[in-house]
């Protein structure tokens, strides 16, 4: 059965990695979410939702971003949230968990020798955490290939 999915990532490498796993979303109702207005054209056949960006180092930005992610999730009521990071993806995982979504974190392929800081926090909330390096499999962290093939 078709599921309602939010696929979220901040601009840059995180977004590029999200698009590379997009074939996995087929036959579901997907809303893409990111921090750059022009990305709507990269996902023409899907709904696109814009949120403000923030890094872990910008406290006020983080609050604004969190409010926007919170509002978006309450409005869209997804069943599953999937993200490739970073901060906005982590927020979505936390909010998603609170309202009972299934949540999936895919740590960036850039994190070759340890899971990212956001990934470590995501571990506490997400149902599944993927690493893209087999050496980093541990506890709840799983490896099933990566975004570059």
């Amino acid at each position: 059965m078709s599921k309602k999915i939010i696929a979220i990532a901040s601009a840059g490498g995180h977004w590029i990695q999200l698009l590379r796993i997009a074939p996995a979303f087929e036959n579901n109702e997907v809303v893409f979410v990111s921090t750059e207005p022009s990305f709507a054209s990269s996902v023409k056949n899907f709904d696109y939702y814009l949120i403000p960006d923030a890094s872990r180092w910008d406290k006020i930005g983080l609050l604004k971003s969190f409010y926007s992610v919170f509002k978006m999730i309450l409005k869209l009521k997804p069943e599953i949230i999937i993200t490739t990071g970073a901060a906005p993806g982590l927020m979505a995982i936390i909010v998603g968990r609170i309202i009972g979504c299934k949540t999936i974190w895919i740590d960036s392929i850039a994190n070759v020798d340890k899971i990212s800081m956001s990934g470590k926090i995501a571990l506490r909330f997400a149902n599944i955490v993927y690493t893209q390096w087999p050496e980093l499999v541990k506890g709840k962290i799983v490896y099933h290939g990566n975004v570059i093939s």
Partner: protein, 165 residues
């Protein structure tokens, strides 16, 4: 004529790479005919030997990537993945915490791993840039090292698909 595209991502300046590149373009232009375009974000250094812009749209960015014979970049995953998808030679210099170019030193680890896998050309210091650019453009060493498809591995896509059911 060889085209080089210099990119440092979209978020933070990287003066060390922009200034090093501008300097060597001046030197290399004596023996090679180069057309160099740099996307400099908010770097303080203003290039003299290359065309530049602070920001560009994703479609402009893609056009520059497509036209380039060589990409010179920070070790950001978005840039690396884009270059490998297009089968373009790419030289990366990791941003360093010590110079305030980034918030953590993860680009060094990324570089070491991608270097070992022979996916990209890595320079760990800007002093290695000139030789590397020259060697690639004169085909002394192989430029494009590794080509990837547009999508994640079949294993990852299948695994995620199963989780979404």
């Amino acid at each position: 004529m060889k085209r080089i595209f210099v990119t440092i991502g979209t978020q933070v300046p990287f003066d060390r790479l922009i200034s090093a590149m501008d300097e060597i373009v001046g030197q290399l232009n004596e023996s090679l005919t180069l057309h160099v375009f740099a996307q400099t974000v908010s770097s303080k250094y203003k290039p003299k030997n290359m065309e530049w812009t602070s920001f560009m749209s994703p479609s402009e960015f893609n056009r520059h990537l497509n036209e380039a014979d060589l990409i010179v970049a920070h070790a950001g995953m978005g840039t690396i993945i884009s270059a490998l998808t297009l089968d373009k030679p790419i030289i990366v210099l990791p941003r360093l915490l010590i110079h305030n170019e980034i918030r953590s030193d993860h680009q060094i680890s990324t570089c070491r791993t991608f270097d070992k896998l022979k996916y990209v050309h890595v320079i760990y210091n800007e002093s290695e840039l000139k030789t590397k650019v020259e060697d690639i453009l004169t085909e002394k060493i192989e430029g494009s090292l590794h080509k990837i498809t547009n999508f994640a591995s079949a294993e990852l896509i299948l695994s995620i698909k199963n989780e979404l059911q």
